[in-house]
Subunit: 359 residues, 2 copies
């Protein structure tokens, strides 16, 4: 039994405060995982599974569609901003309020208060989202028990300021290396300069025109940039190697293979001696044309906007589950000492999701 | 009195061997300096001065011209190649044979055997040439007692394989910095990429055509190269700064100010935000038109060749003394484990200099 029980009868804002006051910095999530598991096991309409410090709870009503509501339970390190504090303007302050214990509170409230949803529901609570990608609990569950994450549509309750952020762009990091021949710089004509050989690569980068494709009504914005360049042996030596680190952020209508081909072809005649894929994670389609998503957009209102940065929605996308971000927190306040959330947004988000899942 | 006396009655090759067997790695030259000073003070036709571990000896015959013969007495660290070994082909092996105890032996032999030269002579023996420039003994003497180095022409007995190397090129290292504005690479259009901004600099470098001016009959060869490039904050950040380290090697007909102006003007329209002079040492004119130099070339024979790398001749040039390298060692063998010198070259060099200074 968990040291501290979670009371799911609390309203959304009060449950958010209780979660903030239950520290769970990345790597120390076990007690909170225990408390969440215990609270969910007390709900007879859910079956509960656990893998590491990740909990997955499901309804099994035989509905036509299944929707996943997911959120990470860890926070960045506390910066003297716990316990939480509710001010007179209805703003709750504290580490993790926005990112994303308000979202986790909404998940728990829906789990507790919607025993007979119009679509089957899967609730996912996972650890280690704020640290290195290989530690990410959602990734571990996707690897070990992909069937636990199956569904027709997924909502991550990440802070999105109450607006829907659809899909996400992919990100490919590639090293473009040029080569030359070393020589003493006093006799430079005996060698061949690899930094000079990188001139066409930089010129091509500077000339790049981004593609802005519209997918499911969302306008994405690609980007191709050098995020680093390095070359040089010593101050009196002609460099025999230069490496430009290029980051291609691409819209989710490209596959990973297409993204790699694009970069290789874009720099095809720039004298690149070697292309090396340094890091690559694919994008995620917004999936807003699925009936469950159309109903979702109707219930939450507003217009979806594209997500440019890579997020965990891509992990669902990789499993064939379209996913969006939609949560009460404000992403601009995430990781800040003055992190906070307006409590009315927590209630608003909970109500909108309940409407979607019950009417 | 020195622990080990130097016998200047030995012939050139034997004196070279004695000097090699007297270790004097940079920073440990004091005992050898003591021995050289003692040996020179025993010669009544010379006045001897000492500053640190540097010795300067002069004739004072009231000749119309004064010639300086200079050499460093230190070596790179010994690599199990001392004591010296003379093989059956007349090759002397050991650390410092070529660079440049053979040259120092020639200096000492001329000092000992030419009491009435046709030009006044100044012999300079200095320390710490093989280490950081600010430790260089010739530089220290030039700073503290520039009058000790006065003369119409100077010969450094650095290894030049028995050929005359005239003057030397200057070397200017300049940092060319471009600037931009940071942004997350997922939203690169919010920033401005400083690495892309370096494209015109690299293009201009790649297009550089070297100038090959002829000075005193020697063809120099300028060079303009990136010896380094660096830019980048993190793999997901648009870089706000990029620095290209440019090395300009220039012929000695340019002043230092002209060299700096050339670089600034060459990159004038390349969007450089800042030019910083990182290091700069001027070149040295060969001075081969001076009568003493003309006689010198006649005596040593062959054709002079230009020196592309920077050498200590530039320290003489800065004092208004044209200077050349001319010594019995082979520069290609310098600093190598199998360093060696052919003893006939030591004798040849000594004889040629004696001819020049006595006929």
């Amino acid at each position: 039994m968990a040291d501290t029980a979670l009371d799911l009868a609390l309203d959304g804002p009060a449950l958010t405060a209780a979660l903030v006051d239950f520290p769970s910095v990345s790597g120390t999530e076990e007690p909170l995982t225990d408390a969440i598991e215990e609270a969910l096991r007390a709900l007879p309409h859910l079956t509960v599974d656990r893998y590491g410090n990740n909990v997955v709870a499901r309804t099994n009503l035989g509905r036509a569609d299944r929707v996943v509501l997911a959120g990470h339970i860890d926070t960045v390190p506390i910066a003297d901003n716990v316990p939480s504090r509710l001010d007179e303007d209805g703003v709750l302050w504290g580490c993790g309020t926005s990112d994303m214990k308000a979202g986790v509170a909404v998940q728990l409230r829906i789990a507790a208060t919607v025993p007979e949803p119009n679509r089957d529901l899967t609730f996912v609570f996972y650890d280690n989202e704020e640290v290195a990608a290989h530690l990410n609990g959602l990734g571990h569950v996707a690897e070990a028990h992909p069937e636990w994450l199956a569904g027709d549509f997924a909502v991550l309750l990440e802070p999105s300021d109450g607006e829907v952020e659809g899909g996400c762009q992919g990100t490919l990091r590639m090293l473009l290396r040029t080569t030359g021949e070393r020589a003493h710089s006093a006799r430079s004509w005996m060698g061949s300069n690899a930094v000079h050989a990188a001139a066409p690569i930089l010129a091509r980068l500077a000339a790049y025109e981004p593609r802005l494709p519209v997918i499911d009504g969302l306008e994405y914005h690609e980007g191709l940039n050098a995020v680093g360049i390095t070359g040089g042996v010593a101050t009196n030596v002609i460099p025999d190697s230069c490496t430009v680190t290029v980051n291609f952020r691409y819209a989710p209508d490209r596959t990973m293979a297409e993204a790699e081909s694009f970069v290789r072809e874009y720099f095809a005649d720039c004298g690149v001696a070697e292309f090396v894929v340094d890091d690559h994670t694919g994008g995620a389609l917004p999936g807003l044309s699925h009936p469950a998503a159309v109903e979702f957009m109707k219930a939450v209102g507003g217009r979806a906007r594209p997500k440019f940065g890579w997020t965990d929605v891509a992990r669902f996308s990789a499993l064939g589950v379209p996913a969006v971000n939609y949560g009460p927190g404000d992403a601009l306040l995430a990781h800040k000492v003055d992190e906070r959330v307006a409590v009315e947004k927590v209630t608003h988000c909970e109500n909108r999701l309940r409407t979607w899942l019950t009417t």
